[in-house]
Amino acid sequence: MKVIIGQGSCGVATGAKKTAAEFEKLIAEKNLNAVVDLTGCVGTCYLEPIVDIYDDNGEMTRYVKVQPENVAEIVEKHIAGGTPVTEMAISEEDEQFLEKQQRVVLRNCGVINPENIEEYIAADGYKAIEKVVTSMTADEVIEEIKISGLRGRGGAGFPTWFKWDAAKKSPGNEKYLVCNADEGDPGAFMDRSVLEGDPHSLLEGMIIAGYAMGANEGVIYCRAEYPLAIHRLEIAMDQAREKGFLGKNLFGSGFDFDIRIKAGAGAFVCGEETALIASLEGERGMPRLKPPFPAAKGYWQKPTDINNVETLANVPWILYNGGAAFGAMGTEKSKGTKVFALAGKIKKGGLVEVPMGLPLKDVIYGIGGGIKDDKEFKAVQMGGPSGGCIPASLIDTPVDYENITKTGAIVGSGGMIVMDETTCMVDMARYFLDFTRKESCGKCNYCRIGTKRMLEILERITEGNGKDGDIELLEELAVKIKDGSLCGLGQTAPNPVLTTIKYFRNEYEDHIYKKKCTAKSCKALITYDITDACKGCTLCSKKCPVGAISGEVKGKHVIDQDKCVKCGRCLESCKFKAITVE
């Protein structure tokens, strides 16, 4: 028997290592014939820690939310006794989360052991690169990518073949391929999952890209916040070198390629190509004017191509199965599948890979199971700080580059943050502006000062000090920041504000003119009160951290509004629903 435990960052965070240790301990104690192994994240993050047990016939039972205290029963009944513990196994409803997906990038995540190259090879790994270097020319590889219609998965959606071709045609022998693994969008984590769960598919994709453009060196620029990803990449690179998949003369073709990792140091702006290159060279990560584009003058002034992790992880599949097979999925202009990170106020959060063009509704309700606690769906934020909020009325929008851009948001790297009636849209805009203000590199005045001014206006609106004309001022500033900024960060920074004004103008107006926050989330605009339903149990007064609640036992309590800090602890603690927020 084989016991496989999901140990991506999310699994580890929910205690998967302790669960694994418990399995190992009990299996050894009872001297059972079972091996404990690990895998990456399968995508159903809300069910972690996940344990798959394969019996000797290859039949798999998936257990979910397995904490160390549940292990003894599984070991006793299933591993020793041979009867699966069905009560702890995944429910049919949760199985649907995976069944409704179509997996290309995530094909191996949560299936193979990312620290064992043999398992990747057994899953047809490194076959695409073998085919490429032994039987295809660089132009044929680029043509295949062109047929597939693959577009950059990191944000802008630029055709991948075009970038490869441009780097290939640039004069010079020394060229570089850079993988952008600095997943900066707060709320997207598909790259982390690929790096942790299937690092070899990225390496293979990079080798193919290197071959196509004539680069002999690849650099992975990885977020320092992802220590596990860096660790697994290092293991994968060592194994690939040992097998001769990296290094000199790959498959006897005469093609040399090697990869190294550079850990980023935390700067959102380094998602911009020229800023990333500056950072690779050990400088402050500040963008420069283009042209020259990196394809002509990039890393150390040499032709350089930069692709995102998800883009490159698609490449081996495309070359192995053919560009047409990839192009058959998705829509006319947005081909293939895309991974989305579902999070926020969603029932089933995790990673979802679906063909492009599926309506938002199918992703949020069909796969994600709808809104947490059955609250009302308000909006979904796509594209992170460069994107926007799509309101509930547009839930039938197909998810592809063109249709999402029409709403004012962008597909971006695929973060989908779901929001319900308790999320204040003005506060969301404030949140993103606070982020972009901090992350602005400071080179362009409009970005550096403009985002600060927009943030100040949004702060005063959420604090109840909004003025007539603030909305118009925000709109005016937004246009100027877009026009006056050099790189994508500044050009897109106003998007979260513009989309929330476009779809939720009434909320801005309520904040400014009625001093009211409809979502009941802006502290300056809400008050807590105790109704006659109060039984005088005194629990709220004990929970209140500032002593603002007073009253006799069995008598109605009152809140001293001058002392109240609006932390909401009383509301959470009240068993009689006697506390209201207005």
Binding site: S9, C10, V12, A13, T14, C45, Y46, E48, E183, G184, D185, P186, G187, A188, F189, R192, A224, E225, Y226, P227, K262, A263, G264, A265, G266, A267, F268, S279, L280, E281, G282, E283, R284, G285, W300, A341, L342, A343, G344, K345, G349, G350, Q381, G384, G415, I417, M419, T423, M428, Y431, F432, F435, E439, C441, P545, C567, G568, R569
Partner: protein
């Protein structure tokens, strides 16, 4: 590494013995400044002005430029940190799920603000952009010499329990 220190004493070489092998390897490799700073921070926990001057001597990069790079990236710290570094995720999913109230709870319990260290030197609080564990929001990572530990699905009360438990260990 035999050059004299700019302040005229030889104590620097002794002070930075652990950093010397890093500099031997990277000092003359172009584009390695960020790597050197990361390794220096791994060793000493932060980048002191002395460390910056020492790196400057070895690499020939001016201290002002090193300072410029160190202050550009959120990873680098110029002040010492506590034994346990709390990295509180302020990503979008965490924000929507109440990261601000978790921060209030931490600040109230430890009596520090973002970027500060407790008087006993046990905890430092740092807000970070995103830890990539969005399905478990709100999340924090606690870094220490014993390794990194991530805590998910935090509540105002559970975060205090976690911190109390760590303080007991410290």
């Amino acid at each position: 590494m035999n050059e004299k220190c700019c302040c005229g004493d030889h104590t620097m070489d002794q002070q930075f013995t652990e950093l010397a092998p890093v500099l031997d390897k990277y000092a003359k490799v172009p584009g390695s400044l960020i790597t050197i700073l990361q390794k220096a921070q791994d060793i000493y926990g932060y980048l002191s002005m002395d460390a910056i001057n020492y790196i400057s001597q070895a690499t020939g990069i001016k201290p002002a430029k090193i300072y410029g790079v160190a202050t550009f990236y959120s990873q680098f710290r110029l002040k010492p940190v506590g034994k346990y570094l709390i990295m509180l995720c302020k990503g979008t999913a965490c924000h929507v799920n109440g990261a601000d109230t978790i921060e209030e709870s931490i600040c109230e319990y430890l009596e520090i603000k973002d970027g500060e260290t407790t008087k006993d030197g046990v905890f430092t609080l740092n807000n970070v952009a995103c830890l990539g564990c969005c399905s478990l929001a709100p999340v924090m990572m606690v870094k220490s010499a014993d390794g990194d530990e991530t805590y998910g699905n935090l509540t105002k009360d559970s975060v205090k329990e976690v911190l109390a438990e760590i303080r007991e260990r410290a």
